[in-house]
Amino acid sequence: MPEKKLALIATKGTLDWAYPPFILASTAAAIGYEVQIFFTFYGLQLLKKDLNLKVSPLGNPGMPMPMGMDSWMPNIVTALPGMEAMMSSMMKSKMKSKGVASVAELRDLCLEAEVKMIACQMTVDLFDMQPSEFIDGIDYAGAATFFEFAGESDVNLFI
């Protein structure tokens, strides 16, 4: 059976959006896929050594909140200082209590399974980021490099 390939583009840098690329990549690798993830724009946050990801309830009516707050609390309240930090820490402790892996753990599992991670060089330059901020073992390249792999992939997803 020839190895299947999965190509992902990760464009978002929040706690909630960090999960889909790492869950899909690690699972595909476990099933035997060769996997590459191209991190661009805010997705680059997912490659930082120091993962400090947040989730924001602001402008996110789909986010369930304790005590049904999502149904009665005016959305503007979620813009108050400290709300983002509070919701992020609540989300993290909820995930831990439900046995959901941390983003760092899933990322480690991806690296262990030889998932190839590529940081978009253009975005790194655009935001004046330093390679020292990122984890080791990743490549820096552009769109053409992504297509080299994506063009022969079985599954391509933009996240």
């Binding site: 690690s26 699972t27 476990a30 099933i31 439900k98 046995g99 959901v100 892996a101």
Partner: protein
């Protein structure tokens, strides 16, 4: 069903950890050996079935008892 080579208790773990960790144990095992997995994740029933179909490993048994799910996977 009771014969197995390795046992992995995935109790309390949620998707995709039961699959990922089981895969890790399978990698360390020899062809023909059986891995026994216990999980509390109800979504793992379909996932272990799909995992075995796609990796070619044989799902000898998949059952539920007392809110826990039991899998016997023969490594090919």
């Amino acid at each position: 069903m009771s014969e197995y080579t390795e046992k992995f208790d995935a109790t309390g773990l949620n998707c995709p950890l039961p699959i990922l960790r089981s895969k890790k144990v399978l990698t360390s095992m020899n062809s023909g050996e059986v891995l026994y997995v216990i999980s509390t994740d109800s979504g793992s029933v379909k996932d272990f079935d799909a995992f075995c179909k796609q990796t070619g490993n044989e799902l000898l048994e998949s059952s539920e008892a007392d809110g826990k799910y039991h899998y016997y996977i023969k490594k090919t």
